[in-house]
């Protein structure tokens, strides 16, 4: 089982409470689709993804980005049970959406970068280390039900 120190729990809660999900969610997803264009393969039905400008103004992408952040919020509210929290989502991504789990890391990287850009020097090396640990646990949980 994942063990979190008081400090780590505090850092994760502090990061997420400083975020506006409606702002950072769309930004992180857009960044992922632009920086790693092959991830667009999962968004065929979302409309125009032709270039960076189109992606950034796509309302379906924005809505989905917000959805993702709220999904992460569920893990933040249940740090000792992240695997259980995501069991259903993991099955969904595997059986229905057929998403290669490596993509979870790519999106996680983009979210990290968005948070870094927002917090600047406040996103210290220690803070990043804790956040990366959290994302690694999330990614692992989302990949758990693949077979």
């Amino acid at each position: 089982m994942v063990v979190w120190t008081e400090s780590e729990l505090s850092i994760i809660n502090s990061i997420f409470s400083s975020l506006d999900y409606e702002d950072i969610g769309p930004k992180a997803l857009c960044r992922c689709l632009i920086v790693y264009p092959w991830t667009q393969r999962y968004f065929g039905g979302f409309g125009n993804l032709y270039n960076a400008a189109a992606i950034k103004s796509n309302p379906n992408i924005a809505a989905h980005g917000i959805k993702i952040l709220h999904g992460l919020d569920r893990a933040v509210k249940n740090m000792d049970g992240i695997k259980e929290t995501y069991a259903e989502l993991s099955t969904l991504h595997s059986e229905k959406l057929h998403v290669d789990p490596d993509n979870f890391t790519l999106l996680g990287n983009c979210l990290t970068i968005e948070i870094a850009a927002k917090l600047g020097d406040g996103f210290t090396a220690e803070t990043q280390g804790t956040f990366q640990k959290f994302m690694a646990v999330v990614v692992n949980a989302l990949g758990k039900q693949y077979h």
Binding site: V35, A52, K56, A116, A117, G120, A125
Partner: protein, 141 residues
């Protein structure tokens, strides 16, 4: 594949960072050590605490090499030849670590540049650092 515009953007970013090379480089290294503790094993002979002389020196060296490589990306194999030999025969750092460092360099850039580190700049930089790492590992085997 880097477009002409992307190459220009990359040169522009690294030239701007030259005065703070030691800060950016050491910041990226520190982030890597904090997020991926296994990477510290390559630095057991040095003091890699924050703001240490060794960390600043190494950080500066890395950023200077990257800046040099950025000046003519088509010539990376020529520019990096001595570093290729160093990494392959002496340092022998497992190349998967280059990816980890690149990620932390991108985070350092994001912290430093804020909104200026746009998705387009990020994409260009990620592609460049991937190419740089690939060339660096060319002499390994």
């Amino acid at each position: 594949m880097l477009s002409k515009k992307e190459k220009e953007l990359i040169i522009e970013i690294w030239e701007k960072l030259t005065p703070v090379a030691a800060d950016i480089g050491s910041d990226a290294l520190l982030r890597m050590f904090a997020s991926y503790p296994g990477t510290k094993t390559y630095f057991s002979h040095l003091d890699i605490s924050a703001r240490s002389r060794h960390l600043l020196f190494h950080g500066k060296k890395i950023v200077q090499a990257i800046t040099e490589g950025a000046k003519d990306i088509s010539q990376l194999t020529v520019t990096l030849a001595p570093l290729q030999t160093l990494h392959a025969y002496q340092l022998r750092i497992d190349p998967t670590n280059f990816k980890l460092f690149s990620h932390c360099m991108l985070v350092a850039l994001a912290c430093h540049m804020g909104d200026d580190f746009t998705a387009v700049a990020h994409a260009a930089m990620d592609k460049f650092l991937s190419a740089f790492a690939a060339v660096l590992a060319e002499k390994y085997r």
